[in-house]
Symmetry: C2
Subunit: 284 residues, 2 copies
């Protein structure tokens, strides 16, 4: 083996957990960040999912999906996800999990929250996008907008509410996370509620299901969820102290500019552009 | 569990192994395909990688990277990859593997094959792209072009030649496959040589490495490669009879159009566009 022969030793990982795999240049930018560039996740809108293989942390986006987030937290606080299971893992698409059973499940339907009115907090990306008139970031989440509406977009690690044919049929009792190429065709067709900010690899490496759409064929193939908790409900000292780089900070703007132009000597051709799902959203 | 509550029962999986996870509409389109719409992979440019967990099939693209493909096949035919190993798995990025050791390794450098002259066979996609003036398909591979040059692009499942800082330092003894969001920033910076057409999930589910850039910390964490063979070198009856949908067929054009507009009732908002890395490249 040639340990020094690596694919792009200075190439950034464009991931949601970018810090661990940061480039030298990205590390430098982050090292120079001010304390105020980092923001702690709100414990009232952070979920801890405990799996037999470790913990996953989900940052919720109530500003985009207030009703779905409230419904999910109600399921969580009723312990409905405890001893629930991961029921689906479809390669290059999604992992999906569900509450323990239907018994605690409210028959109330939740109106779709596929988009919302435009918001002044949108941090626009100058680059063209295949699917939307404009893309960018809002509150730490990848987003898009047109002249009147704004919506979260399906990047790697984003979490959404599974639904049936009716737009209001997703009640928060089944959620999915994107584990492959961004399925942007789903944008504005499903309510996105947040993103995985820690432990993504525990989901992305799950054995794929062999039934249609990646559902597991047998109950014993499903991984049991030990518990899901709202961070605010557990003692402070047991929480994971994670912070996100603010997407409205100068540090983030510098990071995006660096990722777009790639001045590291490894690059023969500067990309010149960057996709919304290729921008790292650093978490420390 | 609610088995019928699924995320988008009619939503296509936008993957390189699209057939297994095809939508009803995509299945219908493929069922109506003519025999001539399907093309067998050339055994002289197909690799079988045998892992302890199963087999991976790689379709090579000598039309884009003749020297790199020749070098890789020389390593394969010298059995240099046998008892080689997967040395890296970085979440949302790449899995990388290498020959057994440096002993068989030629000191000859291979000139970069990052792009080539434009080709008449290019099947253009009408949709805008973030990174390239135009995207499309050529010979069954996702590609892009400008006024004079054409190149393969980094979509999920694409295979490339790892290199050091010098553009000609990738000699084919270490290869990688994309396992996450398409890292399009690497386009025209690495020689792409093909794509995984079977067994992708055997790579995408590998435990991630914990060293920088996802390298495995200890040799025992690496998965051993039992062998890699050129399909032409093994008996016909032992080959995997795979065929690709021709990207210059009317069936493929219909499939792309359907995936772009999504008329299934599940869709509230038609995407209206499709990304080059979201187009399924069916294999049967």
């Amino acid at each position: 083996m040639k340990p020094i022969r690596t694919l792009c030793v200075v190439a950034a990982l464009a991931g949601l957990l970018g810090v661990d795999s940061a480039t030298a240049s990205m590390s430098d930018v982050l090292a120079r960040a001010h304390q105020a560039d980092w923001k702690a996740f709100d414990p009232e809108n952070t979920l801890y999912m405990k799996l037999p293989r470790g913990g996953v942390v989900i940052a919720l986006a109530p500003q985009f999906a207030p009703r779905a987030v409230a419904a999910i937290k109600a399921f969580v606080r009723a312990h409905a996800f405890d001893r629930g299971a991961i029921i689906r893992a479809q390669d290059d698409y999604v992992v999906q999990w569900a509450i323990r059973d239907d018994k605690t499940h409210s028959p109330a339907k939740i109106p779709a929250e596929f988009d919302r009115a435009r918001d002044a907090g949108f941090v626009a990306l100058a680059d063209p996008d295949t699917y939307a008139p404009q893309v960018g970031f809002d509150g730490g989440f990848p987003a898009a907008r047109d002249a009147s509406r704004e919506w979260l977009v399906h990047c790697y690690g984003m979490v959404g509410v599974a639904r049936d044919a009716a737009p209001d049929s997703g009640d928060g009792s089944e959620l999915y996370a994107v584990i492959g190429q961004s399925p942007r065709n789903l944008d504005r067709n499903v309510t996105l509620v947040g993103r995985i900010v820690h432990g993504m690899e525990l989901l992305s490496t799950l054995t794929r299901g062999t039934e249609a759409l990646g559902f597991y064929a047998k109950p014993e193939e499903r991984m049991t969820i030990e518990s899901i908790r709202v961070a605010a409900d557990i003692p402070v000292k047991e929480r994971v102290a994670l912070m996100a780089l603010r997407d409205d900070s100068a540090t983030f703007a510098k990071l995006v500019a660096d990722q777009r132009m790639r001045k590291e000597p490894w690059y023969v051709n500067s990309p010149g552009h960057i996709g919304v799902c290729n921008v790292p959203l650093p978490v420390r």
